[in-house]
């Protein structure tokens, strides 16, 4: 009857490796990095939270979601409502209810509330959307993104409309970023070894057999949807504290696709893939950002023209996918055995993705 501990013993090393590796990166950035580099590191940690959140749903269920950035939007705005000083709120956000208008919560209270808010929203909307399957579910999540973006861009009295809301206390640093990333990795790991996570992966690999074995696909997908919304809601809250301004444009198509690319480049059905995808892409972006600023070569400063960064990132993404269609980690996890990548028992058959076909 002691099967559960052995699952943990076999797999616990993956999240530990990931969290320790990120801790080393945070320490290096804190010790040696410039101010600008530290901001890049914080941004990377927030992206890790988002992509790990995406992995919880996309990786375990095999369904693509375009809607998860709307949870980031919900989390960020919730934090803005909770954390901006009441004096400022009463000028810019007149439409808020009185009790919200007069509260100001510190970061460590506002952030979990934002996560729970996103998760509750996901629970309600997920009950509807998770009944769909395959590409219909993906498009419905697209609809979700459109609805949330449209409402937050136009509900002027509560969200400030298209403009930015300012005044969120900028209390982020590398360590909080690392803590956020570590917590999301831990949640994602615990979910993926839980009963629900195993059941959901079974539906991903062989939907018909799984439901014949008594797995309620809709229920398991809903659980993953809510867990991932919670993680991404937290990421949104930290993002708001990081930039200290929020505006709806930041939570739309560009972010959706950049985070999805990070997930697919890393390998979308593994936690290690989610994390390494973000790290690799962030390093590439930072590298090209510096090249655009200029590098001195033998007394001359050679700088790439502006805009090369995005073009190069796009081309590199295409090339990585061309040669490694299952991502950099080939959908395997980091572990000690068979370092650096553990071989899975068998190749996964991606049935849920076949629904697209």
């Amino acid at each position: 009857m002691s099967t559960r501990p052995s699952v943990i013993r076999q797999t616990i090393v993956t999240p530990i490796i990931l969290i320790v590796a990120l801790l080393i990166m945070a320490a290096l950035a804190y010790q040696f990095g410039s101010r600008a580099f530290n901001r890049t590191a914080v941004e990377m940690f927030i992206n890790i939270m988002v992509v790990v959140g995406l992995y919880v749903f996309v990786g375990n269920s095999g369904l693509l979601s375009f809607g998860h950035i709307s949870f980031m939007c919900l989390g960020a705005y919730m934090t803005a409502w909770l954390a901006i000083p009441p004096v400022m709120k009463s000028i810019t956000l007149k439409g808020l209810p009185a009790w919200l208008l007069h509260t100001q919560l510190p970061m460590w209270v506002a952030t979990p509330i934002s996560g729970v808010f996103a998760a509750l929203f996901a629970l309600i909307i997920g009950r509807v959307i998770m009944r769909l399957s395959g590409i219909a579910a993906s498009i419905a999540t697209f609809g979700l993104l459109g609805v949330v973006n449209n409402v937050y861009s136009n509900w002027d009295s509560v969200t400030g409309g298209q403009g930015s809301i300012v005044g969120i206390p900028p209390t982020m640093n590398v360590w909080i970023g690392w803590l956020g990333a570590a917590i999301s990795i831990a949640i994602a790991y615990l979910y993926s070894i839980s009963r629900s996570g195993l059941a959901l992966r079974a539906t991903r690999d062989e939907a018909v057999a799984a439901s014949a074995s008594g797995i309620d696909i809709v229920r398991e997908r809903l659980i993953a949807f809510v867990v991932s919304a919670f993680i991404i809601g937290l990421a949104g809250a930290l993002y708001a504290h990081f930039l200290s301004i929020v505006n709806p444009g930041a939570f739309y198509l560009r972010t959706t696709f950049v985070t999805l690319s990070m997930l697919v480049v890393g390998g979308m059905s593994s936690l290690s893939g989610a994390v390494s995808g973000v790290v690799v892409m962030s390093l590439l972006i930072e590298l090209f950002r510096n090249l655009e600023k200029g590098v001195s070569l033998g007394g001359h400063t050679v700088a790439l023209p502006n805009g090369v960064q995005e073009i190069a990132i796009g081309i590199i993404t295409i090339i990585i996918l061309m040669y490694l269609p299952t991502g950099l980690t080939r959908n395997q996890e980091f572990s000690w055995r068979g370092w650096p990548l553990q071989r899975r028992l068998a190749r996964t058959v991606q049935t849920a993705l076949k629904e697209l076909n």
Binding site: I129, L132, V147, N150, V308, G314, T317
Partner: protein
């Protein structure tokens, strides 16, 4: 009566635009199961092609000064060439990968095209004056309808007719329909895969060019992001219409155009800014009722 006619024409012309876009996406999806997220950037590329070779802020339209009987074929050619090139250079290598990987690859390609345009032309919208006479209203049954709307609807109908004839009456059309139905089977019966896929990409590129022309004439500007919105709606339309169904994609394009215009006209004034939320909400409702799409082909049904 006059208002209703106005609404009908608005709905038809917006729907035409979406239908042309949905067609471009559905054709490629049919032959290679690729959701082409670069389609919107193809549209933008074709619009900016009219500015070549000038990159000035006060756009000196070069190709745009050509008479229309030269400009239109030139743009269609540019669209087709761009689309074919993207197939040969990028998508050919993704034929056997899973749809998610293909989708992200197409998005990355779109990203590259968009930022290439941004680098060359900067993000400021440029003005393009194309056929200003099309902006004048014409009187139809007592309503004032912009000439361009009428032209857009006529062009769409012509394109659709030509395409239907092509698909139904020619050998290549037959091959393409067979490939959309069951690609492996079609190949085994002697359909050349590369030929059919290239043809689908060429037609899709020409459709992107025609959308670009209509958008540029309509707005009088060239803007990097002008294709993105049409692409999104077109993408949704192909799913609502039933993936793989070409008539379904067109019908759903018209349907979404009509829904947007009707919501715009009938929603109370305060709720009008939330029109898109209503449209996307309606999309979710349609999917809940018919997850396989409104006009799903029989072959789309999942077999166990």
């Amino acid at each position: 009566m006059r208002e209703i006619l106005q609404i009908v024409f608005d709905a038809l012309s917006l729907g035409s635009l979406y239908a042309l876009g949905a067609l471009g996406i559905a054709l490629i999806f049919g032959v290679m199961r690729l959701v082409n997220f670069a389609h919107g950037d193809f549209i933008a590329f074709c619009v900016f092609a009219m500015l070549w070779p000038s990159v000035d802020a006060a756009a000196i339209v070069f190709a745009g000064q050509l008479p229309f009987y030269l400009l239109i074929p030139l743009l269609l050619l540019i669209g087709a060439v761009l689309s074919i090139l993207s197939e040969i250079v990028v998508f050919r290598r993704f034929r056997n990968t899973n749809p998610a990987t293909m989708m992200i690859a197409s998005f990355a390609l779109g990203f590259v095209i968009r930022h290439l345009l941004l680098m060359l032309y900067s993000s400021r919208p440029k003005s393009i004056t194309l056929w200003p006479s099309l902006g004048l209203p014409v009187e139809l049954l007592g309503a004032h309808i912009p000439m361009l709307q009428v032209v857009t609807i006529i062009i769409t109908l012509v394109v659709l007719t030509v395409l239907v004839l092509f698909l139904k009456r020619t050998r290549y059309g037959l091959e393409m329909r067979a490939a959309a139905e069951n690609f492996t089977m079609a190949r085994m019966l002697g359909v050349r895969a590369n030929g059919v896929i290239l043809l689908a990409f060429a037609i899709s590129g020409m459709l992107a060019a025609s959308i670009g022309l209509i958008l540029a004439t309509n707005s009088g500007t060239a803007d990097i992001s002008m294709g993105a919105n049409v692409m999104l709606i077109a993408f949704i339309a192909t799913v609502i219409g039933g993936l793989g169904s070409i008539p379904g994609a067109v019908a759903a394009g018209f349907l979404i155009g009509a829904a947007s215009v009707v919501f715009q006209a009938t929603l109370p004034h305060d709720a009008r800014v939330f029109r898109d939320a209503f449209v996307y909400g309606a999309v979710i409702v349609v999917l809940l009722v018919r997850p396989q799409g409104l006009f799903a082909p029989k072959s789309a049904k999942q077999r166990v």
